[in-house]
Amino acid sequence: MTALPHDPAPPRARRTRKTLTPWLFLAPGMAMFLIYVLIPIVQSVWVSFHDWDGLGQMRWIGLANYSELWWDDAFYTSLKNNVIWLVLYMLAVPAGLMIALFLNQTVRGIRIYKSLFFFPFVISQVVVGLIFSWFYAPGFGLLYAMIEWLTGRGVAILAEEDYVTYGIIAAGLWPQIAYCMILYLTGLNAVAPDQIEAARLDGAKGWRMLWHVVLPQLRPATFIAVVMTVIGALRSFDLVSIMTSGGPFGSSRVLSYYMYEQALSEYGYRMGYGAAIAVVLFGIMMIFISGFIWKMWRDEKGL
């Protein structure tokens, strides 16, 4: 064998290797991203300009699906519910922080309490939906019985168009709070004890300590918690499907569920219309996603 370490490769080849290697490493990921993300997005936009039942011929109808959306009451109901979801789902972030602060102490058996609080995130969303459906169920549901006992008249949350969305969001918050809590618990582990000590010596306590010393150090955890909660709120599909199927009379629909209903459910198969809804939902998500990416880019540049 000859000495390999000082393999005198010509500078040209080394340069190509330097520029080529990162691309080679990126290639599998990029191929996946292309096949499973970019191409489907383009296809969805393409399908949204057609009238198609998924079986027969596609018929080009231009913007007709979008103009129909413009006049569609059900679309606005879904949009409104999505906004309600976005706003109320954000409660998971402060609630998760509160529980994390509360649990972040050294008491005997604290790990058990932590895992109990984390439990709702471990169980499937389907199970969460079922549990809350029973909780709200007219007749035997615990909440229904409690309201009946208090006011004399039971309220079936999932049958009332004015309450149903809030009822589902409450069910969704249960696991989401647990998720934010675990993010903050790990964040709290990384809080520098010397800074807390220093702040204490300076006389900081309670809210001031939390606001000026602890929270700034939790910024990465807060960022992830907000991102995950926004995405969770926008793709809230499973709970709506399990608890109400969008009912009563469509008043608890969100965009993702409406898209499924139009494109894939029993009475749907309007692929074009479903795709148009998907494109709108994608547009809304893009606003948030670009915001997050912009922020991440700024942070990395150290601006």
Binding site: P138, L158, G247, G268
Partner: protein, 414 residues
């Protein structure tokens, strides 16, 4: 040593190849029979067919009843079986239009097949051709609890609408829901609407409505909704949050008196503890006495996908399925009514009552709202019915919306 092993392997290969050749005649049959009784029925049906045709092997793939509705589109295009279960009427039209089902007019035209199935012919016919083989149907009607009648002090159910509504007030005073339903899945309210429509304006009008020939803002539609508004206050509160089985429990417990349902609910009533002594059945009350009585009875069908690999044996199977004695046995197991007019109806009192009711329905027999109307119209309509029952004051808004849907849906359908 080596050669003998080779010979063995060759022999084994031949042995495995020989039966494969003999069993080339395989029929794959995708069914939605996920409930125990239908599942067993299809297994028995396949076994009986194989006993008569030993050279053919029937392989049944059972899908979940709801999951089947979405799976069918995938397997029809990707890997079509030889036989599938589906529903007659407009529910099969998208598949006919897309060329996914096989024209089986030749099976219908064969000696002794079509003439005995005449009652269901129109529901499987498009463009003058038959696309499916009906084997079973069941009546919809009013099931009631005799114990609830006793508790409210009412002797007999009224057969006219005004009398029925008057009884409802007595039930309400006794703290019993006059009519129950669970409309979470929407379709149960369509049964109620269909009957109100058939009784108010008649069969022909109902068919025109579901064919998109009548504007939803028309006064004749308002007349149907007016009757619906009269019964609305007597329907179980919060029905929008419960499934149809939950409403069965209310009737079994005597907290509700009537249920407009299909005959498949009888099994659920019996599971809940009701017997032939306290479970009653009647035809939906008369609203307009001048209108010939029409009833509702959805038909169950078997079809051959256009891409079937073994269409000849599949047609043989459908010919077998059409036979009177086969349909008698199948429907005995299902607790439903055979379509073949030569077949005999089971002893079950509700089946007998249903058969009697359907065979004397001079007005006609409708399928069901979601089979008579195109899928999108059915969905929009059922949502409208549910909304109206909960918020009757929104009638104008609901009808305007349905009319907009009608203009769009039937325009694209043509």
């Amino acid at each position: 040593m080596l050669t003998s092993r080779k010979a063995l392997a060759l022999a084994a290969l031949l042995a495995s190849a020989a039966p494969a050749l003999a069993q080339d005649r395989v029929l794959t049959f995708n069914t939605n029979a996920s409930d125990p009784a239908p599942r067993q029925m299809f297994e028995t049906l396949a076994a009986d067919f194989m006993a008569e045709h030993p050279e053919i092997r029937v392989e049944i793939n059972t899908f979940d009843h709801e999951g089947f509705k979405t799976a069918i589109r995938n397997f029809l295009t990707a890997d079509p079986p030889d036989l599938i279960t589906w529903f007659a009427g407009n529910r099969m039209k998208p598949f006919v239009d897309a060329g996914q089902l096989m024209d089986i007019s030749d099976v219908w035209a064969a000696e002794g097949v079509g003439e005995n199935l005449a009652s269901a012919e129109s529901s499987v016919t498009f463009d003058g051709k038959q696309w499916g083989m009906p084997y079973s149907y069941y009546q919809w009607g009013v099931y009631y609890n005799r114990d609830a009648y006793e508790a409210a002090g009412i002797a007999e159910p009224a057969t006219d609408w005004d009398g029925f509504l008057a009884n409802c007030e007595t039930f309400q005073a006794a703290g019993i829901d006059c009519l129950t339903t669970g409309s979470k899945a929407l379709w149960p309210v369509a049964g109620l609407f269909d009957y109100l429509s058939l009784r108010t304006n008649g069969y022909d009008w109902h068919m025109q409505l579901t064919n998109g020939e009548i504007p939803w803002t028309d006064d004749s539609v308002r007349a149907v909704f007016a009757e619906m508004g009269r019964i609305a206050p007597f329907i179980t509160a919060n029905h929008a949050a419960i499934d149809w089985q939950d409403a069965v429990a209310l009737m079994v417990q005597g907290r509700a008196a009537h249920y407009v349902m299909g005959n498949f609910a009888v099994a659920a009533f019996r599971d809940g503890g009701m017997t032939d002594d306290n479970l009653g059945f009647m035809s939906f009350p008369t609203i307009n006495a001048d209108i010939p009585r029409a009833e509702e009875a959805p038909t169950e069908t078997v079809h051959i996908p256009a891409g079937a690999r073994n269409p000849d044996d599949a047609k043989l199977f459908l010919t077998y399925l059409a036979r009177a004695n086969v349909q008698t046995k199948m429907n005995d197991m299902l607790g439903q009514l055979p379509v073949n007019s030569e077949a005999s109806v089971g002893d079950d009192p509700f089946l007998q009552a249903g058969f009697e009711m359907l065979s004397t329905a001079e007005g006609g027999i409708a399928q069901f709202f979601d089979r008579d109307a195109p899928a999108e119209m059915a969905k929009a309509g059922m949502e409208g019915f549910q909304e109206f029952l909960v918020r009757p004051e929104r009638l104008d808004q609901i009808l305007d919306r349905l009319e907009r849907q009608r203009q769009r849906i039937y325009a694209t359908a043509q």
